[in-house]
């Protein structure tokens, strides 16, 4: 039987720096549970991947939960901004670097 890995998406998020990276991920998980339920949140497999400088963090989630996560991020207090989304971490990092250098 063919064993296929679930598709994932990497999200670069900008936050105010009021909370650290782990707290931000927990905030997203709690808000997502509140809006879409605990089971959906667990199924989305939200994980912290990287915490960068300049208040940018990278999280990962399953593709099927992406729409829920994106709307959760828009409805989270304190505000968090989704800077970019990519299917691979490498591509996300490359694009982020490009954006930061451009600015």
């Amino acid at each position: 039987m063919l064993k296929r890995r679930d598709k994932r998406r990497y999200l670069a998020l900008l936050h105010s720096g009021q909370y650290d990276a782990i707290e931000i991920v927990n905030l997203i998980k709690i808000r997502n549970s509140e809006l879409f339920g605990y089971i959906t949140t667990e199924k989305s497999l939200i994980r912290l991947i990287q915490s960068k400088e300049m208040n940018i963090i990278v999280i990962r989630c399953k593709l099927e939960g992406l729409d829920n996560i994106l709307s959760t991020i828009a409805l989270t207090d304190p505000p968090i901004v989704t800077l970019d989304i990519s299917g691979t971490l490498n591509r996300l990092q490359r694009r982020l670097l490009k954006t930061i250098c451009k600015d």
């Binding site: 900008l14 809006l35 729409d67 994106l70 207090d77 989704t82 954006t99």
Partner: protein, 165 residues
């Protein structure tokens, strides 16, 4: 920042400086011809219902406004703006209801030739909402994002054409 978030044009208050890709939000129509695009925004229902020149009406309480809008005749082509910023502090129950109200408001807009405008209501760059997040919110409200953006673009263009720039 807007470019990073995949947003082509943003709405902002006018502070005397004209910048590219910004449509300025004014409280009243300027008496002179301007060299910048603008939209007249109102927050009071009587301002919107009177034969005024308001382009956008900011909907603060959808539930209250729904009854008012259905009772009174709304000016054709007006934009009904709903902001996301206020929802950040709302609980899950309120947000659930809000999604349903947006669905209803969109249907109302369709039937009365108005334009639904989903706005971040941001006061700073950090409060902005990315284009992709808007799409997700629209999908949850059963609104086709592509269709929504296309209609919004046409609406903005139609308003721009009226103005002398």
């Amino acid at each position: 920042m807007a470019e990073i978030l995949a947003i082509d044009i943003v709405g902002a208050d006018y502070h005397g400086k004209v910048e590219k890709n910004i449509i300025y939000r004014l409280n009243r129509k300027p008496s002179i011809i301007t060299n910048y695009p603008y939209l007249v925004v109102c927050e009071k229902i009587d301002q919107m219902l009177s034969p005024s020149i308001a382009d956008i009406f900011v909907v603060k309480d959808i539930k209250k406004i729904n009854a008012n809008l259905k009772k009174n005749k709304v000016k054709k082509g007006i934009g009904l703006e709903v902001t996301i910023a206020d929802l950040r502090k709302a609980d899950g129950l309120q947000i659930g209801k809000w999604f349903n109200q947006i669905r209803g408001l969109y249907k109302f807009c369709k039937s009365s030739n108005c334009q639904l405008i989903l706005s971040s209501g941001a006061n700073s760059a950090l409060e902005m909402v990315s284009g992709r997040s808007f799409d997700s919110i629209l999908k949850i409200c059963d609104i086709n994002p592509e269709r929504y953006w296309r209609e919004l673009e046409l609406w903005i263009e139609s308003k721009r054409r009226i103005r002398c720039l």
